[in-house]
């Protein structure tokens, strides 16, 4: 199915080349931020609030300062002198770096202790005594809009409620008209729980300010180093740090998943302290700080509705969302899309009408709303449409696979204009679902289910046929803080035909050092093995907006193709010169140009590159380098058909995922093994919110599972065997037809699992359960409704 145009020696696209970066990772030779040790480096630890909402009466630092090794304790009042106590968020809101008077969530930063060792910093943190005056926190987003709710953000001029923004798309009136005339209307209230990316490596930095050169080097766990450099220049310009004096280096990263896009207060404090004392300052979060204070993901309350004919033809959908953003909107969305790409919620189905509206509110929870392995709220959208589609199937008594096939956008309808305005690039949804059904023996499973139900056994089959929207994005619509969401590649080929390529993105485990090399190998015929990929250093790499939302292949990957093609054009000119023929008489095969009709007359890419340095045509620029900034014409729309089978114990309600088949369409595949690895990891991060993960808060604002002892991240023990496969419909507008795959499984898996569990429980009349679905939740639901 996957055809390779290049030999294994070149290892262009389609080859399962082993990951080049793994040689250092599996030998413990990765270089992570906490590996960086600089002479004279100080260490920072952060005092955090035990209360979700409280006035700070007094911060007593006396005892802490007496501890040997503690050199300073920094409070909000200290930062206020430099106007650094607040910072802007990516969503044009404001966030405290350190509070001067009020704390807004449990685990919020209150003060920073600077010391000569990590241990002294931690001892100092324990010795800082803070007097608080606790207030009753606002934890329920629905209550936050009540008239009697306290106004959480009086710091914002004129703010008289806790409402952040309203957003809508589609026609309210037209949708209402379709709903009021439809044969069937189904509706469910859903909560997509607040979860955390819980990457293996927590966040941290080493801020190294050199007073003599007035230069800051910031080693930092960031997915978007270039954007961070610009942000630092924008917020620190007033103290003399201008952009050419700032170098951001993002070393190896142990998982990002969107959690390393935002700027956290710790980074800013470390920079401020380094700036003031002229020494490097290291800050590394511990595990609980990471889980309790860093950006959460999801937390959407969704009312989903679907209107259809009684035969099951979908006519319209309607979604109403309440978004709990915590005390500030610190999400990481493109500027024009406070709700991200949620409006892909119309799904893989062909119908003309939809309406979405969303309101965001403040509560006393940590800020965030990051795109956790998700192109900005697509996970929430896919969950809503795939659950409500199953709900319709249940309502009219139709098989959910049949209902989907009857409503799918057909492959000849692409490019397809969705009801909310997106132009889906390509897909073959019927082929995907049929492949998944054959792989899992869908008909056989349904027959087995009938037999099991006769015996009182609980077995469920769940389907998710999702359409993703990734690769942000076209400059006409997409920017972050005004910077357009293009991305870049620079290729420099050395005289001996070996290359270095640099990118504006930043791998956090995705395998860029391998896949980008393969893309260039595909286009230039230089073996991928001899293409060194570098990212993450703003002094050397071209500008780009970073890696998240499955955007690297659609943007920077495309930039690599375009830059390589510029070089191939140059190689053609050199070949024509060397072979004394016209350019039109040459034909390309990976790795060489030869004369049409005389294949023995040829020049390899290595010979041509060498000539570019040693024997280039007069008038031609010497050297062999190219840069490209790629502004995608459209987003890409990967899709998938996932089927999950669960068995549920009829007494303990323990859920066992018996089988899970995932058929993905990510367009042309660069490295099948890396794609498979991405899908395995993504599916495991998909089972996580479906069955295990949720950040839980009590009414007093305490996080009840703020350690990995209580917050269950699935491991190999919980993971079922994943069965994967592909359908390939190349993206017509991407130069190599690739679409991006990183997040598809995380987005597509939760509704497949939830649908399977609800299908199993449908014998009790259950039509919906909020994820994570646990044995206790099932028992409680059945008990509460008198079914058991």
């Amino acid at each position: 199915m996957i055809q390779c145009k290049t030999s294994k020696a070149i290892s262009g696209m389609g080859h399962s080349m082993k990951r080049k970066e793994d040689a250092r990772f599996i030998q413990g030779k990765g270089n992570y931020v906490d590996d960086i040790k600089l002479p004279g480096m100080l260490y920072m630890d952060i005092v955090r609030s035990p209360y979700a909402y409280a006035k700070i009466k007094k911060i007593n630092t006396e005892a802490a300062l007496k501890i040997p090794g503690v050199v300073a304790v920094v409070t909000g009042k200290d930062l206020e002198q430099y106007n650094l106590h607040w910072m802007p968020t990516l969503m044009s809101d404001t966030q405290m770096v350190l509070p001067t008077d009020t704390v807004m969530y449990q685990a919020q930063e209150v003060a920073a202790v600077i010391a000569t060792s990590r241990y002294a910093a931690r001892d100092g943190k324990e010795a800082v005594i803070v007097e608080y005056e606790p207030m009753k926190p606002l934890m329920d987003p629905y209550k936050s809009l009540n008239d009697d709710a306290p106004i959480l953000r009086p710091d914002k001029p004129g703010k008289t409620d806790n409402h952040i923004w309203h957003w809508q798309a589609g026609s309210r009136e037209e949708t209402e008209a379709v709903f009021s005339n439809a044969d069937v209307v189904v509706k469910e209230q859903m909560h997509i729980p607040r979860i955390h990316v819980a990457s293996i490596e927590t966040c941290g930095c080493v801020a190294d300010y050199d007073k003599v050169d007035n230069h800051l080097t910031m080693y930092m766990t960031t997915q978007a180093p270039h954007a961070i450099r610009t942000v630092i220049a924008l917020v620190a310009g007033h103290v003399g740090l201008t952009e050419e004096k700032i170098r951001v280096i993002s070393p190896d990263i142990g998982g990002g998943f969107g959690g390393k896009v935002p700027v956290y207060p710790g980074y800013v404090i470390a920079i401020a302290v380094s700036f003031l004392v002229g020494k490097p300052v290291k800050w590394i979060e511990d595990r609980s700080e990471n889980l309790q204070a860093d950006s959460f993901a999801r937390d959407y309350h969704i009312t989903a509705e679907m209107a259809a004919t009684k035969e099951g033809k979908i006519l319209a959908t309607r979604f109403k969302i309440l978004a709990d953003h915590g005390y500030t909107d610190a999400a990481a969305n493109p500027s024009k899309f406070p709700i991200g790409m949620f409006s892909v919620c119309t799904g893989s189905y062909d119908y003309p009408t939809s309406f979405v509206e969303a309101d965001a509110v403040y509560t006393n929870k940590p800020p965030g709303g990051v795109a956790y392995r998700c192109s900005f709220r697509v996970t929430e959208a896919v969950h809503a449409i795939e659950r409500i589609t199953d709900r319709l199937a249940f309502e009219i008594g139709k098989d959910p696979a049949k209902l989907r096939i009857e409503n799918f956008i057909q492959k000849d309808q692409f490019p397809y204009k969705s009801p909310l305005g997106w132009e889906y690039d390509s897909g073959d949804y019927v082929a995907g679902l049929e492949k998944a059904m054959n792989a899992i023996d869908y008909d056989g499973l349904r027959a087995e289910q009938v037999e099991k139900r006769k015996k009182g056994e609980l077995m469920g089959i769940g389907i998710s046929t999702f359409t993703e929207i990734v690769g942000a994005g076209p400059s006409k619509d997409f920017d972050i803080l005004g910077i357009k969401m293009f991305d870049s590649a620079e290729i420099r080929v050395h005289p001996t035909g070996k290359a270095i390529a640099r990118f504006g993105t930043k791998s956090q485990g995705q395998g860029h050092e391998t896949t980008y090399a393969q893309i260039i190998a595909e286009e230039l015929g230089i073996p991928a093995e001899h293409i060194q990929v570098e990212e993450g250093d703003t002094d050397t790499a071209p500008y780009g907006l970073g890696t998240y939302a499955s955007r690297s292949t659609p943007t920077a990957g495309a930039a690599a193709v375009m830059a390589a093609r510029k070089l191939r054009d140059k190689a053609r000119k050199i070949a024509a010169y060397l072979l004394e023929v016209s350019e039109e008489d040459l034909e390309w095969e990976p790795g060489k140009f030869s004369v049409k009709g005389a294949p023995e007359k040829s020049k390899t890419i290595q010979e041509l590159v060498f000539a570019a340095y040693t024997n280039h045509p007069q008038g031609m620029e010497a050297g062999f380098e190219a840069t490209h900034y790629y502004d995608p014409p459209n987003l890409t729309f990967p899709s998938g058909a996932y089927i999950c089978v669960v068995d549920i114990d009829s007494e303990t309600f323990e859920i066992k995922v018996r089988r899970f088949v995932a058929i993905d369409d990510c367009g042309h595949i660069i490295n099948p093994m890396i794609v498979q690895g991405q899908v395995h990891g993504g599916l495991t991060q998909g089972i996580a919110p479906a069955m295990y993960e949720e950040l839980i808060y009590d009414e007093a604002g305490n996080i009840l599972n703020g350690t990995l002892m209580d917050y269950l991240v699935p491991t190999a023990v919980e993971s079922p065997k994943w069965e994967t496969g592909h359908v390939i419909t190349p993206s017509p507008h991407h130069p190599i037809g690739a679409k991006g795959v990183g997040e598809s499984p995380t987005v597509g898996a939760p509704p497949a699992i939830a649908n399977a569990i609800v299908d199993a429980l449908s014998v009790y009349g259950v039509t919906h359960m909020d994820i994570p679905i646990t044995p206790y939740k099932i028992w409680k639901k059945l008990k509460d409704t008198g079914k058991i």
Binding site: P134, D698, L704
Partner: protein, 172 residues
């Protein structure tokens, strides 16, 4: 995070004797593991401290204990304790009520305790807090019975058993 405990137990002493202890702040506080009164503010208000050890974690609370009710006729009492961690790491509020019933010479004691914990301790998660609270409460009952019987009272927080209960809690 709120934890509620309700226990009924019998003490082989006459009701008036039990009441004298239950309604006397010095007597009752001396039975609470880790607790001590430091100052009497007025007839109903007392200042005190509570120190709890959860394995490696030690939490000390400074607080105010207020008797809300002490009814010798109905043999009911209730008190409220409000504490803040001495290092600013959280707080705990407690509402405790007790009622005595005469059982032919011996006394049935019914005690309800609602504890709301905020901050560091709450972050341990409910499993731990429930276990430790039960442990503390059981020790309180033992102490209270022993005191009335004229035996020794163990008012120190038993760290070993706390760790044991913690470990047990983790593997539940």
């Amino acid at each position: 995070m709120t934890t509620s405990i309700n226990r009924t137990f019998e003490i082989n002493e006459p009701i008036e004797k039990v009441w004298d202890s239950l309604s006397n702040p010095h007597e009752i506080v001396s039975c609470v593991p880790g607790a001590a009164l430091t100052e009497q503010v007025d007839a109903d208000n007392y200042k005190g401290t509570v120190t709890l050890k959860f394995g490696p974690v030690k939490a000390s609370y400074d607080g105010l204990v207020t008797f809300l009710e002490r009814n010798a006729a109905t043999k009911t009492m209730s008190l409220k304790g409000v504490g803040t961690d001495t290092k600013g790491k959280g707080g705990a509020d407690m509402l405790m009520s007790g009622v005595l019933t005469d059982k032919a010479g011996s006394t049935e004691v019914n005690v309800t305790m609602n504890v709301e914990v905020t901050g560091m301790l709450a972050q341990f998660g409910s499993r731990l807090i429930n276990d430790v609270s039960n442990q503390v409460f059981d020790q309180f009952i033992d102490n209270f019975s022993n005191k009335l019987a004229g035996k020794d009272v163990n008012n120190t927080m038993s760290a070993g058993s706390m760790v044991g209960s913690m470990v047990k809690g983790l593997f539940k």
